[in-house]
Amino acid sequence: MYEHDVIVVGAGGAGLRAAIAAQEEGADVAIVSKLHPVRSHTGAAEGGINAALREGDSWEDHAYDTMKGSDYLGDAPAIETLCQDSPKETIQLEHWGMAFSRDDDGRVSQRPFGGLSFPRTTYAGAETGHQLLHTMYEQLVKRGIKVYDEWYVLNLAISDEEVPEDRTCHGIVAYDIQSGEVSGFRARNGVILATGGPGQVYDHTTNAVANTGDGVAMAYRAGVPMEDMEFIQFHPTTLPSTGVLITEGVRGEGGILYNENGERLMFEYGYANNAGELASRDVVSRAELTEINAGRGIDDEYVHLDMRHLGEERIIDRLENIVHLSEDFEGVDPLEEPMPVKPGQHYAMGGVETDENGETCITGLYAAGECACASVHGSNRLGGNALPELIVFGRRAGAHAAGKDLGTAEITTGKRGEWEAGEVDTPVAPGSVRSPDDSAVADGGEKAADGGAVAATGDEIVTRAVDAENRRIEHLMTKEDGVQHAEIRSEVQKSMTRHVNVFREKEGLKQALRDLREARERYTDVYVNDPSRTYNTDLIQTIETRNILDLAEAITLGALAREEFRGAHWRKEHQERDDENWLKHTMLSWNDGAPELWYKPVILEGEEKTYEPKIRSY
């Protein structure tokens, strides 16, 4: 068993920032990640970091824009924390040497982004995430922080008191991908989940193949609620053939969207008469798909994004990376012709419920970054708000786990505050499928062999979790035939893309639930064909697929339950935002193998003012 004060799961932006912060507070910290840190998906972020750095801008304006962008589903304490901490954190990166783009006076450059009232997106060309990830990894090397890279975290080691709020996280169980060794990691102070987004739930996504939502699924099954999972952001400009992201910076710099007739669609059809291409992402995504559905798309599939008029010099200075991506992945040279683009899955606004200090309702368990929901993005995230989220909440979670007093959180977690029960009419029973054989072993939902009886010490709880995971792996590896993960995964992705996409309707959502139920049933028969203990990606992807199933179901359940149109969540039957009934967070708790739906109120009261919901127009 390995032992550290703080263990961070995941080595993207949030994980690295958390580890640095924990170490600065004097903790012995280690990172456990299924990828080497420089392979993390934060590196693919392009656009920038919103931070009120300049005269004429203020954190209050940033907070207002964020609340409006969220369609009033964000929690004010989290949003205000984001906007207050972001300038300092951004400059901290600069002090660590990050290669930001520069103005003539040598200061870091800022540019306009969708939904912002001030050009406050700080950037490094169109490769901000790459620069940020590498800068932070450099700091990790400098500090000699221990990284267990290419270790896949299988599960959390959590005590099993009746009520989640009474439970404690004592560590994790991880699998060394190169050697096949399964080992316990005891965390004396706490575990921080920073495992990123669940993009692989969909088949057209900007997300990396590694983004399977492992952290969210593990926390969920351990008893932490998932919050607002139905709010999936679709980015309006992804390349049609691969889902590769074309940054919002293209529109920020003045890129224009055209339909098949060469009309500037955002104005021509009144989707956003003021902001045009710079309306928020949900608005632009729907506009594009409406055009395509109306027969004004190109090849019935995409629209054009044109940046040629910006001139080669400006493009190479600020968007060079886009030229390469468009050429390499779509065969289109954007200096000569417009790029084909369509909406693609991009970001999960929902995730592990945390407060503004990164804590969950389980003692010693934290989450930060895309896997967490504090919630700063509400029902729609503004471009340029994901990277500040990583550094702001990564740092807070790391510092807090290491023992720093960040003050009492205003957001309550778990069923400690005000909440109401929810109900949703589903065509099939959601949750795990228990067949008479040992399928519970296959899906990792196995209860402790001793029936959960008094595992007194943290060490014992970790050891017990290690035993359970060993049995799961043994089961998957020794089973001789059955279904392979790739088949199940692909069915889930197709169904989600078809039914739980930008446009949603009741019958489709129900069909998705049926498809997911069938996939779960098939999963009880899943097996691993590769007999090797060395670098067995077959095994890891099989376990990831289980996580994908849980997340896909949560997204669909939330979408079916929420009978209104808010932010990124559009419902055919409900075309209006309904503040009277739905100004609340959707919560799903794993309760004895099945999801329990409940709601908690949105906090609109900020430090000095209350954010009054208004009709959102751009």
């Binding site: 590196g43 200061r107 077959d538």
Partner: protein
């Protein structure tokens, strides 16, 4: 005005290639490669159309290296053949994923972002180090031969041990060091646009290891820092924010026996770099810096 003859024409080409010139060079190369690729793609598409007319389904023929130290029958390295259905725009990575998901789930390789930024899928494809995710099948001759990066220990199939590469990267103190931070936590250091432009290409490295794998010198000298690590050092040594004392310190690391002087300007690193970083030029520039610094003391 009279016509200006660039001075550099007189000097040795590789020695004289400064950063200011290497950007246009990279662009020229890009243009040239693009033109070549278009021509090649058009030709392949013509061939494919003819083939498709002859058969129901167009398939690409892959020969993939296999090895697993644990599995009997795979302990001796071999090549497996896969025939993967082709669609326009398909990359080598797409083909590997198809083969794994449909034919043999034990086929093992690293990959994640599939957009040339995570750096995990550098492999040896048709005799050259490439990122599989940005390599179009249509650019390659059949059968497409996919092997692990040469000069690195094979863990399994296409997965190589990267530890040595990471160790070399860490040997150059790959982190920003300055004694000259502004007082205020909200005040940034200033950096000129020119200086940022100078280090820009060097910051693009994604640690894929293609350069190290292609370098003859690195293959023969395990202690040679190698192109990626030297480029990482360049990124900091040339950053004006670090100051002259730190630059001297960095030059001492680079001038050691297995540092910049080991490079024999063979350009293979520059040739294979998927991010078009002028690695050889950066190494040459550091050699010149080293000479300049040493001259001061003579």
């Amino acid at each position: 005005m009279s016509t200006q003859v660039p001075e550099t024409q007189e000097a040795d080409e590789s020695e004289a290639e400064t950063e200011a010139e290497s950007v246009p060079v990279a662009q020229q190369r890009r243009q040239q490669r693009k033109a070549e690729r278009r021509e090649h793609v058009a030709e392949r598409e013509r061939e494919r159309t003819e083939e498709e007319a002859a058969s129901d389904e167009s398939r690409y023929h892959l020969k993939v290296f296999r090895y697993d130290p644990e599995v009997e029958g795979k302990q001796e390295p071999r090549f497996d053949e896969f025939h993967v259905p082709y669609h326009k725009g398909m990359t080598v990575l797409d083909a590997l994923i198809y083969a794994r998901d449909h034919f043999d789930s034990s086929l093992t390789f690293r990959h994640s972002c599939r957009q040339a930024i995570c750096g995990s899928d550098a492999m040896f494809v048709n005799g050259r180090q490439r990122l599989c995710c940005k390599t179009q099948l249509s650019d390659l001759e059949e059968p497409v031969r996919v092997e692990p990066l040469p000069h690195q220990e094979v863990v399994k199939d296409l997965v190589v041990d990267m530890e040595h590469f990471y160790d070399q990267m860490e040997a150059v103190e790959p982190f920003f060091q300055t004694n000259d931070l502004p007082d205020g936590e909200l005040e940034e250091q200033r950096q000129t646009r020119e200086n940022r432009e100078k280090v820009k290409m060097s910051t693009r490295c994604i640690w894929c290891g293609a350069c190290m794998s292609s370098c003859n010198i690195a293959a023969g000298d395990n202690q040679y820092l190698g192109p990626a690590a030297i480029n990482k050092a360049y990124r900091f040594a040339m950053d004006e924010r670090e100051g002259s004392d730190m630059k001297e310190h960095r030059m001492r690391i680079l001038e050691q026996e297995h540092g910049v002087w080991r490079c024999q300007t063979q350009f293979s690193c520059t040739e294979v770099c998927p991010k078009d970083i002028p690695l050889t030029a950066h190494i040459q520039e550091l050699k010149r810096e080293a000479v300049k610094n040493n001259l001061k003391f003579w």
